[in-house]
């Protein structure tokens, strides 16, 4: 045998472990059925939207035929709707990937032989997180870009800030998968997936309710959206992404009532909110690391 084991420095060992586990997580994502589910759902969504958007120009309505300008405006709103669907598919796919990759391995015993290796548990967890981040981000960027291109080809609409929109969608995915990772270190893999999805949906609803509250100048109801966007920033980020996707003229048309519409975003995200999102991710990841470091395997 020519195997050679030399003692690496702690930093080299940590980086090597993180990269190895990240690569393993990516490979797991591509080999599991979840990738096929994601691909099928995304392709379906793209195809359906391509067909739908192609019908917009010159479409007959009760107010007469849509002009190209009107159809572009409508397309920008519809794009928000479709992108919401797309982000949901990716976020949920990643959440359901994150649960089993940690919780499932702990439950089945796959973790035993891995964690008994000369590795820090935190490196294993960070590797998994990194792998999921890369997977989710790359996927949402490709799927989102494809969706934008579909709209561009069909109705010649191009979002004002496409890169920002994709970055915010990626961040939304990262928030959700970090939460799923934390939950899967505490509860069963399936329960963590379901809880993540539930919280994602609840935050979105809270955001819509909050928007209606704001439109109606009801501070109490409006606060629901604000608080939920702080507790789980997925909806806050989604609203930021919508703002980067939609036609600015939509806001002008709707005037002050825009907050009441779930697929129109009144304002872009503040730097403070983005900073909070980063802090939120760090906090949840730290909790996850603490829980994973302490548990018996």
């Amino acid at each position: 045998m020519t195997t050679m084991t030399t003692r690496p420095s702690a930093t080299v060992a940590t980086v090597r472990t993180i990269l190895t586990i990240a690569e393993l997580t990516l490979r797991e994502a591509t080999r599991k059925r979840v990738i096929w589910a994601l691909l099928v759902l995304s392709t379906l969504l793209l195809a359906l939207s391509a067909w739908g958007f192609s019908q917009l120009p010159g479409m007959d309505t009760s107010m007469g035929r849509l002009t190209s300008g009107e159809s572009r405006l409508l397309a920008s709103e519809l794009l928000n709707l479709v992108m919401f669907g797309m982000s949901m598919v990716v976020a949920l796919g990643t959440a359901f990937l994150a649960g089993p990759t940690l919780g499932g391995e702990l439950e089945s015993g796959v973790s035993l032989s891995m964690v008994a290796r000369p590795v820090h548990r935190s490196s294993v967890l960070l590797g998994k997180w990194l792998g999921l981040v890369v997977f989710g981000s790359v996927y949402i960027c490709i799927a989102g870009l494809a969706q934008m291109l579909v709209v561009r080809v069909t109705v010649s609409y191009w979002p004002p800030s496409p890169i920002l929109a994709l970055a915010l969608l990626a961040l939304e995915t990262i928030v959700l998968l970090t939460l799923a990772l934390l939950l899967s270190s505490l509860i069963s893999p399936l329960a963590s997936g379901i809880t993540t999805v539930g919280l994602f949906g609840a935050t979105w609803v809270a955001g819509v309710v909050g928007g209606i509250g704001a439109a109606l100048d009801n501070e109490g109801v409006a606060r629901i959206g604000t608080v939920s966007a702080m507790l789980l920033p997925t909806d806050g980020l989604w609203r930021g992404a919508m703002h980067a996707i939609q036609d600015p003229r939509a806001l002008l048309q709707l005037g002050g009532r825009s907050e009441g519409f779930p697929f129109v975003s009144a304002s872009s995200l503040s730097a403070a909110y983005l900073a909070w999102v980063v802090v939120w991710i760090v906090i949840v990841l730290t909790l996850c690391l603490t829980s994973f470091r302490r548990r018996s395997i």
Partner: protein, 345 residues
């Protein structure tokens, strides 16, 4: 029968030689304790495995063997106690750099193939290995023709074989095998036994947890017996099994004859059946053939003396106490009285 479990008997505490400093040992554990809720799974266990030594871990289900192993390998955080692996503190993950482990629950990524699993563990073990090395490892466990097959399609036995190959990744100096043959057929068990012996020849320390007493008896230099989370006996096989016994069927046993029987060892009587446990009288403590010869002579002298004392001798049967007898005796005594056995440290 309780004589083979007498307190202060052969259950010698494993006091390491002066030369056995924690740094020179493959495994050194001191005072390891773990509670799960109100239940104390492992109570102040200290044990060591010298380099190149094969140590067997025995005990009933729930005795704390797997928890002890997991604490050694950093999988379970001990409530108290210390671990050193190959001279490095167990709190440093790099102390496991040359440690192989086959868990009792052997599961590997089902979506990888066997070669990929070994490659993954090679990278996690910070070891350089070629495709040829991995094939050799798979050959050692009889999986050379399954290198590119999905682990998810493997039978349990094949997965356990793969687990053995994984434990051998990175030329380990210490291998911890937790029930390594639980899913193997008789042939596979023999192969594992040969593998352990081969590892010992190469100077690899092995900690073997197994329910199969025969397996342990054949390959282990030393045995540690756990009961209710405590070490209740430990020592070399010779120390634990050195005891021999002689069973005699006698009649007309007078008090002087009884006295004569007692000079040989502890006497148990069951009607006309007298069983005498003979302490190990050998110099080096080895239960070898020479030892048996000297025991023969002793028994022969005993019979002559008994006849001279007027005892009618109908039968004489001499045997050695098996590890199974010892284990059962210890565990039964442990169940009878939780505190009667002496604790080795």
């Amino acid at each position: 029968m309780d004589w083979d479990n007498s307190a202060g008997g052969v259950a010698a505490p494993a006091v390491p030689d002066v030369s056995d400093s924690p740094a020179s040992l493959a495994v050194w554990c001191s005072g390891l304790t773990k509670r799960f809720g109100r239940r104390e799974a492992v109570r102040a266990v200290s044990l060591d495995v010298r380099r190149g030594e094969v140590v067997g871990l025995l005990g009933a289900n729930g005795a704390g063997k797997t928890t002890l192993i997991k604490m050694m390998l950093g999988l379970v955080r001990p409530d108290a106690g210390e671990v050193m692996l190959l001279g490095q503190p167990g709190t440093d993950p790099l102390s496991r750099l040359r440690v192989g482990y086959l868990p009792e629950l052997f599961r590997y990524q089902p979506w990888l193939n066997a070669d990929e699993v070994l490659k993954l563990h090679g990278r996690l073990a910070h070891t350089k290995q070629s495709a040829d090395d991995r094939l050799k490892l798979l050959s050692m466990v009889g999986l050379h023709d399954r290198a590119v097959d999905r682990v998810g399609d493997f039978s349990k036995g094949m997965q356990q074989r793969l687990g053995l190959a994984v434990a051998l990744v990175g030329e380990p100096a210490l291998i911890v095998l937790d029930e390594p043959t639980s899913a193997l057929d008789p042939l596979g068990r023999v192969e594992v036994r040969d593998l352990v012996l081969k590892l010992r020849e190469r100077g690899v320390a092995v900690l073997l947890n197994s329910h199969l007493i025969g397996e342990v008896e054949r390959v282990c230099d030393r045995v540690v017996i756990l009961d209710h989370g405590r070490v209740v006996a430990s020592g070399t096989l010779a120390e634990l099994l050195g005891q021999r016994k002689v069973t005699l069927r006698l009649d007309n046993v007078t008090e002087p004859a009884h006295e004569r029987l007692r000079t040989l060892g502890l006497v148990e009587r069951e009607q006309d059946k007298y069983t005498v446990a003979m302490p190990d009288t050998s110099v080096d403590g080895r239960a070898g053939a020479d030892n048996f010869d000297s025991a023969d002579a002793e028994v022969s002298r005993l019979v002559t003396d008994l006849v001279q004392l007027g005892v009618h001798v109908y039968g004489v049967e001499r045997s050695r106490i098996s590890l199974e007898d010892r284990l059962l005796g210890i565990l039964r005594a442990g169940a009878d009285s939780d505190t009667s056995t002496d604790e080795a440290s």
